[in-house]
Symmetry: C2
Subunit: 168 residues, 2 copies
């Protein structure tokens, strides 16, 4: 039987361990016009190829969650090197919130109405097939409606041990 | 309304797009003794911090899936640079299957009985809280029971555009 002290120690070690798990940096965008929201995520992963489905996690305490439940659509914008400022803005650094996070970058409107970052490494427009709520988060399953492949020859933006990194 | 031709094109573009999503390389291990199985994955992500939960996806056509359903436990072993051969073996290159994939590396036994890679960047021992089946895959939610932080000062192993890469 594990004690409360054990649980606290495991939680602290898990937090440290997850800093060692490198992740590609994406921005999830949701909504339209003044109702646009978005956040930076490293939890994006392809889920299935047939049918094409992508997954990401959202914190149910975030301001994006109610908008996502209403719009039932989202886009994944995979960031490249040099887009650290966009990542920081969508992570809420400097207190930027809601539609203000979209300032300073160029966006195009996808078929679902969701904004796509014009010069993302790749951008994927999805309808929300399902949001599976567990603990503090929801697992989003995105039904891929369109893919915008970036034309630029640029390396991905990565996050590891609390810092932005690039590929060697 | 989208046509079949549209669907085929989206599937092909999605496959290309997901090659541009860089991922940290982990090996998931399941079972004990001769009943050990495992596979290479880039779908591992922290899921929630409180409570500590980690997630990964498993293909329901894989040989790991029935073992996982029986054992209800798994470990995530995050690989570092120089462990490409372990990644390849657990990806099934060369036709290596089942317990044979564990040859040529050192393993320690976790509290749940699952093998942990001795020199993983970090290794996380989990009980399977839930496997959520959707399409061809299952989303695993792991209840973190123990964390083994690697003592080595090594960079993570990454996978991007079909090749192993390191951090710059």
């Amino acid at each position: 039987m594990s004690s409360l002290a054990d649980s606290v120690e495991i939680a602290a070690e898990f937090r440290l361990a997850m800093r060692a798990l490198a992740g590609a940096v994406s921005v999830l965008t949701i909504g339209q016009g003044a109702d646009r929201v978005g956040f930076t995520a490293t939890s994006v992963s392809s889920f299935s190829m047939e049918p094409p489905r992508i997954s990401a996690f959202v914190n149910k305490n975030s301001s994006s969650w109610p908008v996502l439940q209403r719009c039932r659509a989202f886009a994944v914008n995979v960031l490249g090197e040099g887009q650290e400022m966009i990542a920081e803005r969508f992570a809420g650094r400097g207190g930027t919130r809601g539609a203000d996070r979209f300032a300073g970058a160029e966006w195009v409107t996808a078929a679902t109405g969701t904004p796509l970052l014009a010069d993302a490494l790749v951008a994927i427009d999805c309808e929300l097939e399902e949001a599976i709520e567990r603990h503090t988060h929801a697992i989003l399953i995105g039904d891929v409606r369109a893919v915008r492949l970036g034309g630029r020859d640029v390396d991905p933006l990565l996050y590891w041990h609390g810092r932005y990194r690039g590929l060697r």
